[in-house]
C-alpha cells in the first residue's frame, strides 16, 4: 500500500446514495464496537460448531469414533449449549452486521487482490451466519419454508461458515487487537458523536442492548433444557414438564404410522443375528423379566431435554439370554417403515455394556404411553433423542 494509489483506488467514486462520502454518520459503526461483537460472535459460533460437529459424529460415527455412555449428562449439556448459544447469537449477529454495514458500500470496493479475497469471504460469512441461525430457529419451531433436508444442509453451511470465519479472523485479528488495546479516538467515534447529538445510542448503550437482547432470548428459551428455568422460559418450544407421563414427545405414534402394529396383540420382540438362541418375546414375557429402574435423560437434537424414571430390561441382559456376548454391537429396529427417518439405531459395545441402556416398558411408574414408544423402546444414557428408538420390534446382534 505504500507509494501511489492502487489501480482499484483510482476508480472514481459514485456520488449518490450510500456510496456518497459521509453517508453513514452513526457513531455505532465504530471499530471498537465491531471488535467486541466480533469476538463474542467468534466464540459463540465456535462453540456452536464444535457442539454441532460432535452431535453429527454421534449420529454418523466414522469407524474411529466411539461415543461413550458416560457421563450420562454430556449430550444434554452439549446440545443444550448448541441451541441456546445459537439463539443468543441472533441479537449479536444483527448488531455486528449493523456496526459494519457501511463497509458494504465502501469505496473503492477493492483495494488489492488480498482485499478482494477478504471481501469475497464475507458472503459465505454473512450468508452462512444468517442461514445457520434462520434454519436453526425454523427447525426448533418445526417450520420448514425450504425444500432441503435440515440436518445435511445445516451441516454443510456450518463448514462453509466456519471456514469463512477463519479467513475473516486471519484478516481482522490485527485490527481487532488494535481496536481493543489502543486508546486512539479514531477507533471509537461513538461517544464523541453521541455527545454532539448525532448519535441515538452511545457505543456502550448499543453493546448493552445487543448483549441484553442475547440474555433476554437466552432466558426466554433455555428452560427447555434447564428445568429450574422452565417456568420463566416463556418462548421455549418445549417444556420439560409437559407431555404424556410428564415428558415431551418429538414424534407421535400416529405421525409414525405405527398405532395398529404397536397396539396389536400379535406384537413380539425378536432378538436375532449373531446369537446362540434367537428369542421371540411378548410384552408379558418382557414384563416378567428382572427389570431395572433408572433415571435417564432424553436429550433432543432440538435442544430440549428431560429426565424420566424408566423401567425395562437392560440390553446386555437380553443378549446374555440369547447367548450372545455382552460386548456385541447391536442394531435396534422400530415398527416404523424400514428406511423411515430414525427407524433404527445402533448401539456400540460400550453402550450395550452400560446397565442403564435398556428396552424400557414403563415410564414414571406407568406402562409406556404409545407416543413414548409402547410397547417397548430403547433408552440409554448420553444419546441423542433421535437414537432412542421407539416402538421396538427387533434387536439384531452383530
Amino acid at each position: 500500500m505504500s507509494g501511489g494509489r492502487s489501480r482499484f483506488e483510482r476508480i472514481s467514486p459514485p456520488r449518490a446514495g450510500p456510496f456518497r462520502e459521509g453517508a453513514f454518520r452513526s457513531p455505532l459503526h465504530s471499530v471498537r464496537a465491531a471488535a467486541v461483537l466480533g469476538i463474542a460472535l467468534g466464540v459463540a459460533f465456535t462453540v456452536c460448531f464444535v457442539t454441532g460437529f460432535m452431535s453429527h459424529l454421534i449420529q454418523h460415527p466414522p469407524s474411529f469414533f466411539a461415543w461413550p455412555a458416560r457421563p450420562a449428562w454430556l449430550y444434554r449439556v452439549t446440545q443444550g449449549i448448541h441451541v441456546s448459544t445459537g439463539i443468543a447469537s441472533i441479537p449479536l449477529l444483527l448488531a455486528k452486521l449493523w456496526t459494519v454495514y457501511p463497509r458494504f458500500w465502501t469505496w473503492p470496493p477493492l483495494r488489492s487482490v488480498p482485499h478482494l479475497v477478504e471481501r469475497l469471504a464475507l458472503l459465505p460469512l454473512v450468508g452462512g451466519s444468517l442461514f445457520l441461525l434462520f434454519t436453526g430457529v425454523g427447525s426448533i419451531a418445526r417450520w420448514f419454508p425450504w425444500s432441503f433436508s435440515f440436518p445435511p444442509a445445516h451441516y454443510a453451511a456450518a463448514w462453509i461458515t466456519i471456514g469463512a470465519l477463519i479467513v475473516h479472523v486471519g484478516a481482522k485479528a490485527g485490527a481487532t487487537r488494535l481496536a481493543l488495546s489502543s486508546r486512539s479516538p479514531e477507533l471509537d467515534t461513538g461517544p464523541v458523536a453521541a455527545e454532539r447529538g448525532w448519535g441515538i445510542l452511545s457505543r456502550r448503550g448499543f453493546l448493552g442492548a445487543a448483549f441484553g437482547g442475547a440474555v433476554a432470548l437466552w432466558v426466554a428459551t433455555v428452560g427447555q433444557t434447564v428445568r429450574p428455568l422452565a417456568s420463566i422460559s416463556v418462548l421455549a418450544p418445549r417444556d420439560p414438564r409437559v407431555g404424556p407421563q410428564g415428558l415431551p414427545v418429538n414424534k407421535t405414534a400416529s405421525s409414525a404410522g405405527v398405532v395398529d402394529a404397536a397396539t396389536s396383540d400379535a406384537w413380539r420382540l425378536t432378538v436375532g443375528g449373531s446369537v446362540a438362541t434367537p428369542l421371540t418375546l411378548s410384552l408379558g414375557d418382557l414384563r416378567s423379566m428382572r427389570l431395572r429402574e433408572a433415571d435417564v435423560v432424553i436429550a433432543c437434537v432440538d435442544g430440549w431435554s428431560a429426565t424420566g424414571r424408566w423401567c425395562g430390561i437392560p440390553v446386555r441382559d437380553l443378549l446374555l439370554l440369547a447367548g450372545a456376548p455382552p460386548s456385541s454391537a447391536v442394531r435396534i429396529e422400530s415398527l416404523q417403515r424400514p428406511g423411515a427417518a430414525y427407524a433404527a439405531s445402533e448401539l456400540d459395545p460400550g453402550q450395550v455394556a452400560d446397565p442403564d441402556t435398556m428396552l424400557a416398558v414403563a415410564l414414571n411408574g406407568a406402562p409406556l404411553h404409545i407416543d413414548h414408544g409402547f410397547p417397548a423402546r430403547l433408552i440409554g444414557p448420553n444419546r441423542p433423542g433421535v437414537q432412542q428408538t421407539k416402538w421396538v420390534s427387533r434387536v439384531v446382534v452383530s
Binding site: 454473512v126 444442509a153 484478516a171 416463556v234 400416529s254
Partner: protein
Amino acid sequence: MSGALPPPFEDPSEHTSRYGPAFWSCLAIGGGCMAFGLISLFSRAAATDPPNFAVFFVGLALIHDLVLAPVVIGVAWLLRSVTPRGIRGVLFGALAVSAVVAGFSIPFVAGWGIQPDNPSFLPRDYGLGLLVVLAWVWITAVAIGLARVWVRRGGRR
C-alpha cells in the same frame, strides 16, 4: 463545534488489515473448511437441494443488506426527528431488542409448525409469552432511563 457534523464513517481497520503469513494461513485453513462444506453440500444434493440452499444462503444476506438495514436506518432517522434527545438512546435500544425478540418469536406465536397430535410441542401461549418478554424489556428500559435521570440530577447538586 456545537451542531457541527461529526466525521463521516471511516473504518480504520481498512488500513490496518494485514495480509501477512497469518492471513494466508487462515485462508488456507478456512478455504479447506469451505471446500469441505461445498463437497458435503453437493455430495448429498438429493437431500441438500443446492439451488434451494443457495436461495436461502444468498437471499437472507440480500434481505438483510438491502431491506432490513435500510428499514432500521429509516426508523432511526424518524426516531431521531421526533423524540427528545434525552430518551432517544433508551427508546431505540428497547425498540431494537423488542424487534429482535418479536422477530424470533414469530414462528412460535404463529404456530406454523404446530403438530395437532402432539400437544407437548409448542405447549405454551406464545403470544402471551412474547408480551411478558417485551414487558420486561421495557421495564428494564424505563429503569435505565430513570437511573440516568437520577444520576444527571445528582450530578447537578
